[in-house]
């Protein structure tokens, strides 16, 4: 156990945001889900008691008849905003006084940094470079993440959960988002920051960064395992495998989408276009962990080998 190495990584000024992220993301997940479960209990109660549903104010927050439903922005909101601004300023000031922004040696194109890391918020993409070629990890995937986020409101046909925390009414979408945000985005950032060392090799927290370490990974391409050698054969074989993945993942996703009676109800509200777009993004998102597993379990580098691109 090399605690010194661990401390060197964790205390690196630029890694402080990730250490912060390790605390705030679980906290706010708990904070949001706690309210979601509180609302879910109320919803269950109201669903079971139609008479109560007619008269109840339908929030977990206290309410008495005669209370105004709205309050003046001044002072009730503005004082909080003012307070928040002061608190943020104090935090930023204290942070800036106690911790200096990193400044390395002057830039030197002849001296490569090892490991040479992107800013922390792009480390998820850099981590993806291990499993995908740069054109997928650096260009296609980021574009798909952005577009995928943008289409979210247009493919989510569930009218429930608009403006309040809930889990039961939106299980599918919330689990999908948590999977994408926490499992894929945040945890890949954490891996890229705390675990990846020289040569972008995997160093468990607490082990020493060995700059001379070499790993001879025997990564193979899938067509070679199956003994397919011709160029055209590889292209066709890869296309078939990728196509099979799309079909299998699509069927699996469809099963999930129509799993419960409630999900079927939401599914019935979707247009063909909405359904197709959702399927494509879900399948592509799932491809990331699938490729990671394929690489880690079977040491397979490429699945689809062509003269122009490799997947």
């Amino acid at each position: 156990m090399d605690l010194h190495q661990l401390w060197t990584i964790v205390s690196l000024p630029d890694n402080v945001p990730i250490v912060l992220l390790l605390f705030v993301v679980p906290f706010y997940t708990w904070y949001g889900m706690r309210q979601a479960f509180a609302n879910d209990r109320l919803i269950a109660q109201l669903e079971g008691d139609p008479a109560m549903a007619k008269t109840h104010h339908r929030k977990v927050q206290p309410f008495k008849t005669g209370w105004a439903r709205e309050v003046h922005v001044w002072p009730y909101l503005l004082r909080i905003e003012f307070l928040a601004a002061i608190i943020v300023t104090v935090i930023l000031m204290v942070w800036s006084i106690t911790l200096n922004a990193p400044l390395e040696e002057p830039s030197n194109p002849t001296l490569t940094m090892n490991p040479s890391k992107a800013p922390w918020y792009f480390l998820g993409l850099q981590e993806m470079l291990v499993y995908f070629d740069p054109w997928i990890a650096g260009v296609v995937m980021p574009s798909l993440i952005i577009i995928g986020l943008m289409v979210v409101p247009y493919i989510d046909t569930n009218p429930l959960g608009n403006g309040y925390y809930t889990f039961k009414q939106r299980k599918f979408s919330i689990l999908t988002f948590i999977f994408g945000f926490i499992v894929l985005w945040v945890s890949m950032i954490v891996i890229g920051t705390l675990i990846r060392g020289p040569g972008w090799m995997w160093f468990w927290p607490g082990t020493t960064w060995d700059h001379n370490r070499l790993i001879f990974e025997v990564n193979r391409d899938l067509p070679d395992i199956f003994g397919i050698s011709g160029r055209v054969g590889k292209i066709i074989f890869g296309a078939i495998v990728v196509g099979l993945y799309f079909i299998a993942a699509g069927i699996g996703m469809h099963k999930l989408i129509v799993k419960t009676p409630f999900n079927r109800k939401i599914y019935a509200r979707m247009s063909v276009l909405q359904y197709t777009v959702m399927q494509v993004f879900l399948i592509v998102m799932l491809a990331l962990p699938v490729k990671i597993l394929v690489r880690l379990l079977f040491r397979i580098k490429y699945i689809w080998v062509t003269p122009w691109f490799n997947v």
Partner: protein
């Protein structure tokens, strides 16, 4: 109308000088009388000035200057509380009244507002940093050293800008997380979510372009790694799929356009500087204006709304 006139309704010209004002010509050569009259006049003027000052201190809101600045009366009525928000250019993006449960911290987490506040501090510290920085390969790194060692509070300024940027990225991501968990992107706020996603991208780009500016090893290699990916852009990058077929070389592809050259050098520094300090802040500000305006136009903050039950879902109209 006491509040539109002078202090106590008295016209200004009929004040104290009336008693002593004619000491000028009529009594002629009597020097002593003249002096006494002037003194008396001065005393009366002084007394009046003190009186006026007392009035002003007692009720500054009745002065013309005060009224000209604040435009509306501020008294203890609900109407003027509302006007206080609505008639103020900085506050008028707020409604006069909001959902009583929305002011509690637990619903919004305050992340959107705090992100905007951090953005303002970044613009402020960034502008101050621009006074000490030349985007030129020869002096950029030295400017940082100078800033850290010689400029008063220079180190604090740079630290605040750096950590503020990190804080903004974290806050933007948490804001998006909250908006998703509360389903706030649903009708009628779909488009504002799209604007928000663009703002997230712009925030990351702002942070990334700023990374190169100190011109140190950290920024240089981070940007080298980052822009090397652009090389692999399908169709538009020289190493990307089909790029070579379309005639892409290191000297005409998309990476060349981003860096202003085939390597991260002086042109890349200048481009990063201009994107970071001018172009992206302007674009992001424009999107922010739209974002905030849409929050109001789409019906204000989304909740906490009354919960809706599964049995209340209405059927959609099929085309």
């Amino acid at each position: 109308m006491p509040e539109t006139n002078g202090h106590d309704g008295k016209p200004a010209s009929t004040g104290a000088p009336a008693g002593a004002g004619n000491g000028n010509g009529t009594t002629g050569g009597n020097g002593g009388g003249k002096v006494a009259a002037v003194l008396a006049g001065a005393k009366a003027t002084q007394a009046r000035a003190v009186e006026e000052l007392k009035e002003t201190i007692k009720a500054p809101e009745k002065t013309d200057v005060w009224k000209s600045v604040l435009r509306v009366k501020h008294d203890e009525t609900p109407r003027s509380r509302a006007l206080g928000v609505l008639s103020n250019v900085f506050l008028h993006l707020h409604p006069a009244k909001i959902n009583r449960d929305a002011v509690a911290y637990n619903y919004t987490w305050g992340m959107g507002g705090m992100t905007f506040y951090v953005y303002i501090t970044l613009v402020f510290t960034g502008t101050l940093l621009m006074f000490y920085y030349h985007p030129s390969k020869i002096v950029a790194f030295r400017d940082i050293l100078y800033l850290e060692s010689d400029v008063p509070f220079g180190k604090l300024l740079r630290n605040m800008h750096r950590w503020g940027a990190h804080l903004m990225v974290i806050m933007v991501e948490l804001h998006m997380f909250r908006v998703f968990l509360t389903g706030s992107y649903k009708k009628p706020r779909e488009f504002n979510w799209v604007v928000g996603v663009l703002l997230l991208v712009l925030t990351l780009l702002l942070s990334f372009t700023g990374y190169l500016l100190p011109d140190d090893q950290l920024g240089f290699w981070a940007v080298t790694v980052g822009t090397n990916m652009a090389r692999a852009t399908p169709l538009l990058g020289n190493a990307g799929p089909f790029g070579g077929l379309l005639g892409m070389t290191p000297y005409n592809d998309v990476r060349f356009g981003l860096l202003g050259g085939s390597i991260v050098d002086a042109n890349a520094l200048l481009r990063a500087y201009i994107w970071h300090c001018v172009a992206i802040p302007i674009i992001a500000s424009a999107f922010m204006v739209v974002h905030f305006w849409r929050v109001r136009k789409d019906g204000g903050i989304s909740g906490p709304a009354p919960v809706m039950l599964e049995s209340e879902i209405k059927d959609v109209k099929k085309i």
